[in-house]
């Protein structure tokens, strides 16, 4: 079996429990797609950058090239909103006025779901042909961990239920439509072979499937299952490995009852960032078919 994930949609959201290796998987995937000739944007959500530390560069909203065809960008709710409003009002000074206004500042900080909508609005803007141009074959989002991720995705759903009409309702509806279309959006759920991450993975996949779409790829990370199983050993290292192995096998069986993993990434005992990304990249294949034209 070819132990690789193929990407079929232009938008890929990478999520999973905290600490399972989401950022690494997203970086590996983006790197592989870029090396296969696609124009790729890797997006980090938040205000503080992980990749900045990782690649030893500082990043902002404007995409920065890290290698051929591969760009990196960091998005926060506030910067996405700024970007969108800048596009909408066309006049920079007016947009500045808006963001410098005290009331608006507080409102943007606190108004329910505004930031979530701004992020998802921008994320889907390329395929919707709406808003500032986002010209990439694939956009890979290193998104939030499970709970926050679902809250993010549910924000436009809730907003559409509350406000059906006007720009807010229209945009929310269009965003949900994009997120629910398996041809446009796919979800990569990264998991470890441990009890908690596996249960969280199953619950998350169930939610994504019933509320959005089923183009979901489960990525198992840090697998030790390629190591040989032995009956008995008095060696401390081996008995520790065996215990881990049986725990991992158990978690694997549990996962398999619900979802078949798309890829099983072995545990790489490596701490050099770029080498780790290259290892991850080996487990992503090319795109199934070209991104959007």
């Amino acid at each position: 079996m070819e132990n690789k994930v193929k990407v079929s949609a232009p938008l890929v959201f990478v999520t999973g429990k905290g600490g399972v290796g989401k950022s690494l998987w997203a970086a590996g995937l983006a790197t592989q797609l870029a090396r296969s000739g696609k124009k790729v944007l890797l997006v980090e959500f938040g205000e503080t950058s992980f990749y900045g530390f990782f690649y030893g560069k500082s990043f902002g909203m404007d995409p920065v090239a890290i290698e051929n065809n591969l760009h990196l960008s960091i998005w926060s709710g506030a910067t996405c909103l700024r970007d969108y409003i800048g596009h909408l009002v066309k006049i920079d000074r007016l947009a500045d006025l808006f963001f410098e206004n005290k009331v608006m500042k507080a409102l943007i900080r606190g108004a329910p779901a505004l930031k979530e909508l701004a992020i998802l609005g921008k994320a889907t803007s390329g395929v919707r042909n709406y808003g500032p141009e986002l010209d990439f074959d694939h956009v890979i989002f290193d998104s939030y961990a499970t709970g926050h991720f679902l809250a993010l995705l549910r924000a436009p759903v809730g907003m559409y239920e509350a406000i059906k009409f006007g720009p807010m309702g229209d945009q929310s509806k269009a965003i949900v439509k994009t997120m629910s279309d398996p041809r446009l959006t796919e979800y990569h759920v990264v998991s470890l072979l441990e009890e908690l991450p596996v249960s969280e993975t199953i619950e998350l996949c169930d939610a994504l499937k019933s509320e959005f779409n089923d183009n979901i790829k489960v990525v198992v990370n840090k697998s030790l299952r390629a190591l040989p199983t032995i009956e008995t050993s008095s060696n401390v290292f081996e008995s520790s490995i065996q215990r881990n192995l049986s725990r991992q096998n158990h978690a694997w069986e549990h996962l398999l009852k619900h979802y078949e993993p798309a890829v099983e990434v072995p545990y790489y005992f490596e701490s050099e960032p770029q080498k780790l990304v290259d290892h991850m990249a080996q487990h992503s294949g090319d795109a199934i078919h070209g991104g959007p034209s």
Binding site: K17, F54, A106, G110, P112, A145, G158, P167
Partner: protein
């Protein structure tokens, strides 16, 4: 480690998601109870197994952890954010009409679930309440999973800013005159800004939002007071922070900046717990015999990996050991179950195999 509990009334366990914060919070509770304290551990969304170990059912109520035999006593509670938020509104609103108006607002659900900082806010509300109840010697708070440890500290500020700033006053001043707030604005500059906001969101959203803020005006005093109270509580001399982190360069880097931010902000970071820093076999001598070549190869590879990591740690230790405790915890090999599992981890924290300043 022991002095963590001396003159301490609140311990706040922070750290990014997936580092084992909840388990370690509960284990710190075990340690304190063993020392004779009456302790409450407040957790957010504990895994099923941990909830069972602590005897927590689905509700918000605090329970005495079953099957314990400590010098002190251990209690545990689960923080249900949505429930606490609505409870907070019920307690703060002057009448049931106002309560219904707020809870019935179409944007309310969005606010209580997606407003950044709402989960942090409710956990602080709960902490504040339990600490002031006087029922416990010590309250340990397991903070909500954030992307970065530092996010937690900024959450009360965010909520506070929202209600402190001109925004609520602005709604109140204008809404009382009647009808739509938006049309009554005097300042030309604000009008221009509003037209942009209108273009982005539309009238329906703006009306709903103004209703929402207007109905919140009665809560303003209480929210302001609570935010102030919780911020003060976090800076009190009897409040100590524990940072839980995993062991990789990015996380260690993050811990370093978190340390500076805490100290700069006037908080007290007492201990950094590096969880699952190395496997238990790492400190043992090299085995004489391996069952297969693959396993021997894997041993060499892992050994190399963990020694490289411990060099990173040594640097960190050098930079910080004079200022704070750093405790490295080995991986626990056996499945942890029940209260016994927490006792096992508590023993590890008490006497980890490695350095402690």
């Amino acid at each position: 480690m022991k002095d963590l509990f001396q003159n301490t009334e609140v311990i706040v366990c922070t750290g990014s998601g997936g580092v084992g914060k909840t388990t370690l919070s509960a284990s710190l509770g075990v340690l304190a109870a063993r020392e004779g304290k009456k302790v409450l551990v407040l957790t957010i969304d504990p895994a099923k197994r941990l909830a069972t170990a602590l005897g927590i059912t689905s509700s918000n109520t605090v329970v005495r952890v079953p099957g314990q035999d400590f010098k002190g006593e251990l209690f545990a509670g689960r923080i249900d954010s949505v429930e606490i938020f609505s409870q907070f509104i019920r307690n703060s609103a002057p009448s049931s009409d106002v309560v219904e108006k707020i809870l019935g607002n179409r944007l309310y659900e969005q606010l209580s679930t997606t407003l950044s900082g709402s989960q942090e806010f409710t956990s602080l509300v709960k902490l504040y309440e339990e600490k002031n109840s006087g029922n416990y010697d010590l309250v340990i708070l397991d903070t909500p999973p954030t992307q970065h440890a530092i996010d937690f500290l900024h959450s009360p500020e965010k909520i506070y800013a929202l209600f402190q700033s001109s925004i609520t006053k602005w709604f109140i001043n204008n809404a009382e005159v009647g009808k739509s707030v938006w049309s009554r604005l005097i300042h030309k500059g604000t009008q221009t800004v509003l037209s942009v906001f209108h273009k982005v969101t539309g009238s329906d959203f703006m009306d709903e939002l103004s209703n929402f803020f207007f109905s919140l005006k009665d809560l303003q005093d209480n929210i302001t007071q609570t935010c102030k109270g919780t911020q003060e509580l976090l800076k009190e001399s009897t409040t100590r922070f524990v940072l839980v982190t995993s062991f990789d360069r990015a996380k260690i880097q993050e811990a370093t900046s978190f340390y500076s931010e805490l100290v700069g902000g006037g908080y007290q970071l007492h201990t950094t717990l590096i969880n699952r820093a190395f496997p238990a076999w790492y400190l043992k001598p090299r085995p004489d015999h391996f069952s297969s070549e693959a396993l021997e190869k894997s041993y060499e590879e892992q050994m190399k990996y963990y020694s490289a990591r411990s060099q990173v740690f040594d640097q960190y230790q050098k930079d910080f050991s004079d200022r704070l405790n750093v405790v490295m915890l080995p991986e626990v090999e056996d499945e942890l179950a029940g209260l016994e599992g927490l006792v096992t981890v508590a023993n590890l924290i008490e006497s980890p195999t490695s350095s402690q300043s």
